[in-house]
């Protein structure tokens, strides 16, 4: 079982969730994030004074998957999130030891199926 975490552009989130739905992924968690990579921040101007903002708004998508669909899920996120410019984000994975479905008490693979 793996936890896939993807940092993506806010405007690509709908495309990512649609792509995962098409793969049969049953649930995901989305949260606002901010950060920077090679894109760096941006400059804003208020009444002529420049303010450099180091952090850009991003979205963190998290999804628990079983090993057999891991590569497909990562490919789907990558394809859906990509624009080809700096700032498209990152995807990484964690090994997950166990999971519980709160409503039923199911554990492991069946908890995330």
């Amino acid at each position: 079982m793996k936890l896939v975490t993807a940092i993506v552009r806010p405007e690509r989130v709908d495309a990512v969730s649609t792509a995962l739905e098409e793969l049969g992924v049953n649930g995901l968690t989305v949260s606002p994030a901010s950060g920077y990579g090679r894109q760096r921040g941006h400059v804003e101007v208020y009444r002529g004074a420049e303010y450099t903002s180091a952090l850009l708004p991003k979205v963190r998508v998290e999804v628990l998957v079983n090993e057999d669909v891991l590569d497909g899920v990562m490919d789907a996120i990558m394809t859906a999130a990509r624009t080809g410019s700096f700032g498209d984000g990152k995807i990484w994975t964690f090994e997950v030891r166990d999971a519980v479905r709160v409503r039923t008490g199911e554990r492991g693979a069946s908890a995330i199926a």
Binding site: Y46, R47, G48, A49, A54
Partner: protein
């Protein structure tokens, strides 16, 4: 009484009620009062998220304190009979507005005195509220209310008396009998006055922690700023056209000039921004509009529409250039009260030296055949008011600051003045909590009572309610 007799009676007797003027002035007064909540939104959007309630409360606080002070002694000091050789009106002549409840036409022909009193109260309120922008995000609320009461008493009321109340700048006053300056709706009394007061208050109180260092000190809600600018513009029609104190052709001219100068100033500010910074900004549009409103305030009833457009476009450009000066001298005039209200008010006051139409009150400005004759009275009046307001404001602020302390502690300023001064926050941004369910004091939902499908959306109530 037939209509002809009525018309003659209204012309000769100012104490006969003029229903048209009275109706318009009642509405105009409400328009001007709306400017202060409008200003609260304008300023509220310009501060950080943690200070928005406090800066809005500084405006609302002014509405509370100045309204009451105005009725008790402020009106008498501004518009009552001369005392101290015209330096100020008599605060006791009509204390609590006694003797004025049913009178008509004492100050303006055909108007109940209560309309004039109410109209002028709204001017005093917004002038105090304007000052707050210079010291945003760092002033204790209680001392601010005390400052408001003292400032309207010792600074606003005397200056209003000089210019509008028949004091030293009046026709019989020690200065007014020699030179005659023009100020239709308050370029000096309201805007230069508030601008210099804001500057001196900012000098006394010092800058915010992180000023010119912390990139997070920037406007948190530009739609609020646009909303506030829109409300200010709307209310300003009452402010300027209402200052004619009648429903007549001059009021109409003032109304249209208030539109035109503001339109031109908006464009002037955006043009400077586009050339200097590369973008026309929404904050620039809102700020330009306010700069134009400020500048046309003294001029609106005395210039023609082309004059108003010229005054506006210069105001927008000059104020856009003036906003950067505070960074050069390290003065934290937080929301640019000096650059917009003092500079815009000064330009508007001086502009009458160039653009005033010839009338019974003036030979006209430089471009209208009057030479420089009107310019020098404008400049002298502006200087005297700047000096009085600057000195008295410094004195009041210094005394309050040294005795009570006007600033919040460093810790409170960093934590956010909304929480520490008012025990409130403006926004609920963390989408957590809301776990309360009826009938379950421990926060665990009763599975039998609440179906599983309906548990996903909790209420937004936060924390515990203590009584």
């Amino acid at each position: 009484m037939n209509m002809a007799v009525l018309a003659v009676a209204m012309e000769v007797d100012p104490q006969v009620l003029d229903p048209g003027a009275t109706a318009w002035m009642l509405a105009a007064s409400a328009l001007v009062l709306l400017m202060t909540p409008g200003l609260a939104f304008f300023y509220g959007g310009l501060v950080r998220m943690k200070s928005v309630l406090n800066i809005m409360m500084m405006s609302f606080g002014a509405m509370g304190v100045v309204g009451v002070v105005w009725a008790l002694w402020g009106y008498g000091m501004a518009f009552g009979p001369d005392s101290l050789n015209g330096l100020v009106g008599d605060p006791f002549a009509n204390f609590g507005l006694s003797g004025l409840t049913g009178t008509i036409g004492t100050k303006a022909a055909g108007l109940p005195d209560m309309v004039f009193i109410g109209f002028q109260a709204t001017f005093a309120i917004i002038t105090v509220a304007l000052i707050s922008g210079a010291v945003a995000e760092r002033v204790r609320f209680g001392p601010w209310l005390l400052f408001a009461a003292l400032w309207v008493t010792l600074v606003y009321a005397p200056i209003a008396h000089w210019v509008w109340g028949g004091g030293i700048f009046g026709a019989d006053g020690i200065i007014g009998s020699k030179i005659s300056a023009l100020d239709f709706a308050g370029g000096t009394v309201v805007h230069m006055n508030a601008g210099i007061a804001g500057l001196m208050l900012a000098v006394v109180l010092g800058k915010r922690l992180g000023f010119m260092k912390d990139p997070n000190i920037r406007p948190h809600n530009l739609p609020f700023v646009m909303l506030g600018a829109g409300l200010l513009w709307f209310g300003w029609f009452g402010f300027n056209a209402g200052s004619e104190l009648a429903a007549d052709a001059t009021a109409a001219l003032a109304w249209t000039n208030t539109l035109l100068a503001t339109s031109a100033a908006l464009l002037g500010w955006l043009l400077i921004e586009r050339l200097r910074d590369g973008h026309a900004t929404s904050l620039g549009a809102a700020s330009g509009a306010v700069a134009g409103l400020v500048a046309v305030t003294p001029a609106c009833g005395f210039v023609d529409p082309i004059g108003a457009i010229a005054i506006g476009v210069v105001a927008g450009a000059v104020c856009a250039l003036a906003v950067g000066l505070k960074f050069k001298i390290g003065l934290d005039d937080s929301l640019d009260v000096v650059a917009v209200h003092f500079v815009g008010g000064l330009w508007g006051t001086l502009s009458l030296g160039f653009f005033a139409l010839p009338s019974a009150k003036t030979e006209g400005g430089l471009f209208y055949g009057g030479g420089m004759a009107q310019f020098w009275p404008q400049l002298l009046t502006a200087l005297i008011i700047t000096l009085w307001s600057g000195l008295m404001t410094t004195l009041i602020a210094f005394i309050i600051h040294k005795t009570m302390g006007m600033r919040v502690s460093e810790a409170d300023e960093l934590n956010g003045i909304d929480v520490t001064e008012h025990a409130e926050t403006a926004y609920e941004l963390l989408m957590v909590g809301g776990s309360f369910h009826p009938g379950d004091p421990h926060g665990k939902a009763d599975a039998d009572a609440v179906p599983a499908e309906s548990q996903s959306e909790g209420g937004r109530s936060r924390g515990k309610v203590s009584t």
